[in-house]
C-alpha cells in the first residue's frame, strides 16, 4: 500500500502498524520529544502499536527543534 510520510510518498507492506513503521525509523514509544499524526489526527504513543495503516494514509512525525 502507499502512504504519505512527512510529505513523501512511501510504499508499505499490507498490515504494517504505525508502531512497526516508526520502529523502522528508530522511533519507539520511549523516544522523547516525538509526536505522530495520522490523517491530521494526533495518535497518542500508547496507541501506536494498535493502529493499522491503510492505503492513502498521511502520516506526520514531528519532534522539537530550535525555534523562536
Amino acid at each position: 500500500m502507499n502512504i504519505t510520510f512527512n510529505g513523501n510518498p512511501t510504499h508499505l507492506h499490507e498490515g504494517t502498524t504505525l508502531g512497526g513503521f516508526l520502529r523502522e525509523h528508530q522511533i519507539t514509544d520511549k523516544t522523547d520529544g516525538v509526536a505522530v499524526a495520522v490523517n491530521d489526527a494526533v495518535v497518542p504513543r500508547r496507541q501506536w502499536a494498535d493502529v493499522h495503516l491503510r492505503d492513502g494514509d498521511t502520516i506526520e512525525v514531528i519532534h522539537a527543534v530550535q525555534g523562536g
Binding site: I27, V34, A35, E60, I62
Partner: protein
C-alpha cells in the same frame, strides 16, 4: 536581583522569576545556546516542532538539552492557517507533555506579520481544547482585547517585525494595549539590543520574548547577560516612578550661597 524577585511574572497561575522568554534558534552552536539561555536567567524557552528527517538519526538530542533546565514553550511558527496551527499545537502537546503554546499564525513569509482572523480562530479552538495560549499578535488594541477576552493567558504584541532588531516601533499603541489589557502583556519580537528591553519594560509590559537579538549578536552570551540586566533595570525603573519630562533644565545644585554674588 532581589527587587525583581519580589515581583514575579505570573502566567496562567505559574510564577516565573525572570521576565524574559527566550528562543532557542539561530545560535552559532548548541553550547553557546545553553550558555546564553543560562545568562538570561530565563525559566521558559521556546521551541518549534518540525518533521523528523529520515536521514538524520537523533530525534531526541535537541530537546534533551533543555529538559529539566527550562519549561518548554512550543511555538506554531510557520503556520499560515488555524488548521495547521491547531494540529501543530496538538502534536507539540503530545511530543512535549505541555499544554502551553506560543501561537503564531503568520500571513506572509517575508514579514512574518500575523494573520488576524486565522489567529483568532486558532486561539479559540486551542482554548476549547484546553491549551494555555500565548498568541503572537500585532500591536493592535482590538485584537489584543479579543484574545484576552476569549481567555488567552497573555497577549504578545510585536515591538517590531521578527528578526528586524528595530526595537519598539510604536510605543503609543503598546501604551494603549497596556491600559486596556488585564492579562499579562509580553513584547514578542523586534528587540535588537538591551535598551529595547528596558524601554519595553518601562512601558509597563510584563515581559519580553526575544531570540535573534541574542543568538545573532557577535557575542551571544554577553548580550544575553545584557538582556537580563536590562529587563531588571526597566522593570525597576517602571516601579520606581520616573521624573516627568521637561523642555528644559531645573538646577540640580542649590541656587543660593553662590560665590562672588553680593546678597
Amino acid at each position: 536581583m532581589a527587587e525583581s524577585a519580589r515581583d514575579p511574572l505570573v502566567i496562567a497561575g505559574r510564577e516565573f522569576h525572570s521576565r524574559l522568554i527566550v528562543g532557542t534558534s539561530r545560535y552559532p552552536d548548541p553550547h553557546v545556546m545553553l550558555e546564553a539561555l543560562a545568562a538570561t536567567g530565563t525559566e521558559l524557552v521556546t521551541v518549534a516542532v518540525r518533521r523528523v528527517s529520515l536521514t538524520d538519526g537523533s530525534k531526541e538530542s535537541f530537546i534533551a538539552m533543555l529538559r529539566g533546565k527550562y519549561s518548554i514553550l512550543p511555538n506554531t511558527a510557520g503556520c499560515y492557517t488555524a488548521k495547521e496551527a491547531v494540529l501543530t499545537a496538538q502534536l507539540a502537546r503530545e511530543a512535549l507533555d505541555t499544554n502551553w503554546v506560543k501561537l503564531e499564525v503568520i500571513g506572509d513569509q517575508e514579514t512574518l506579520f500575523p494573520d488576524v482572523p486565522e489567529l483568532l480562530k486558532a486561539a479559540e479552538e486551542l482554548l476549547a481544547d484546553g491549551f494555555v495560549v500565548l498568541p503572537y499578535c500585532n500591536d493592535d488594541p482590538i485584537t489584543c482585547r479579543k484574545l484576552s477576552d476569549m481567555g488567552c493567558a497573555a497577549v504578545m504584541p510585536l515591538g517590531a517585525p521578527i528578526g528586524s532588531g528595530m526595537g519598539i516601533r510604536n510605543p503609543y499603541n503598546l501604551r494603549i494595549i497596556r491600559e486596556q489589557c488585564s492579562v499579562p502583556m509580553i513584547i514578542d519580537a523586534g528587540v535588537g539590543t538591551a535598551s529595547d528591553v528596558a524601554v519595553a519594560m518601562e512601558l509597563g509590559v510584563d515581559g519580553v520574548l526575544l531570540n535573534t537579538a541574542i543568538a545573532q549578536a557577535k557575542h551571544p552570551v554577553q548580550m544575553a547577560t545584557a538582556m537580563r540586566l536590562a529587563a531588571d533595570a526597566g522593570r525597576l525603573a517602571y516601579h520606581a516612578g520616573r521624573i516627568p519630562r521637561r523642555l528644559y533644565a531645573t538646577a540640580s545644585s542649590p541656587e543660593d550661597g553662590l560665590i562672588g554674588h553680593t546678597d
